[in-house]
């Protein structure tokens, strides 16, 4: 009678672990690199390196953003953690525009979640990137003052820019 339980439990556990592995492993360049991906960019580094770099930077931003979110949700937010995270986001924000050279478009066969619309509507993309930079700056300013309410408002405003950009320019997986 315990047989189906145990087998099912094991199968599910293994499935979960495998999936987590696949989800993490996929980022470490396990995919076959196309010719385009080994091209060297004018600013140095290959296309593949640039895609990896922005991927990591976005994850850094996501990590920091989650830290702020977690702290805001907790009854007693850790202001030091918020300050550090907001500073990191603000540090990355002005560079977002530079992470998307035209050579890294999926239209050229590059493996990326960035959408080709980035290069089809460059003004729109640049406008959101600029708004994001402003919002991230304001979030950082609010964080350094330690005013939780102001941090909450700036957090929402910044989050709106992440979402706006992802909705239009990132493949929804």
């Amino acid at each position: 009678m315990t047989v189906p339980y145990r087998t099912l439990g094991k199968t599910l556990g293994a499935g979960f672990a495998l999936f987590a592995l696949a989800a993490c492993g996929g980022e470490n360049g396990a995919s076959v690199s196309s010719e385009q991906e080994s091209k060297v960019l004018p600013g140095g580094g290959t296309v593949k390196e640039m895609v990896e770099k922005r991927h990591e930077a976005m994850e850094d931003i996501g990590d920091s953003f989650k830290t702020i979110s977690d702290q805001l949700k907790s009854g007693s937010p850790d202001l030091e953690a918020i300050k550090g995270s907001a500073a990191l986001i603000a540090e990355h924000a002005p560079n977002v525009g530079d992470w998307f050279p035209a050579e890294t478009s999926p239209a050229l066969g590059v493996d990326t979640d960035a959408l080709a619309t980035i290069w089809e509507r460059p003004e729109e993309f640049a406008a959101i990137a600029a708004k994001f930079e402003t919002a991230a700056g304001e979030l950082n300013t609010a964080a350094q003052t330690g005013d939780v309410e102001a941090i909450g408002a700036a957090f929402k405003a910044t989050g709106g820019q992440c979402k706006a950009c992802h909705d239009d320019f990132r493949e929804d997986d």
Binding site: P4, L8, G62, H166
Partner: protein, 226 residues
Amino acid sequence: MTETAAGAPGDGSAAGALVWDWSVRVFHWTTVALIPMLWWSAENGAMDWHRRFGLTLMGLLIFRLYWGVAGINTARFASFVKGPKAITAYLARMKRPYTPAAGHNPLGALSVIALLAALTAQITAGLFAVDVDGIESGPLASLVSFKQGRAAAEFHEFFFNVLLALIVLHIAAVAYYFIALKTNLVRTMITGRRKGAVTANPGPFPLTRFLIGAVLAVAAVTLVQL
């Protein structure tokens, strides 16, 4: 509420004997209603609602798992989870004229276990899930890193397809019983009774045990939100 099996075992009354107690039926049909609502809220980014529906389902599921151990007759896992031998023997009996089991049959038991396990996995992943913007997250996401939360979210999204496949299989099986075996399982899950079913008299509904389960479920739902 007290509910007893109508009459003695092997009840021949018009209403039939009690096969599913009301708490099992409420769990079943609330889950049926919640799954499309969960899907819809997620698709439309109504994450506040998605969390509410998900936590409701979590409470119900915790109750059902508890009821599988501490509940009454047909709800108990021990009463219906059988080994491969019983399943093979049952397969040989799956033809007309078909006499339905008073409870889960050995094959249907697999479907029940798979569905309950899949719901458990899906809800667990949802508790830890983090969206790509780092804004929306499950109630326990603060316990994991951003990356782990993203992996949980991706599992949650992918695993919904597995859950759907199991649901389709479940519905197909119910349709098979209806068409090929002339057995209406849906009506029994609504009324709880089946004519001619032979069940052990469960006696009065065990209200205290039910309340313990309800308190457990509510406590768990409250705890994950602290």
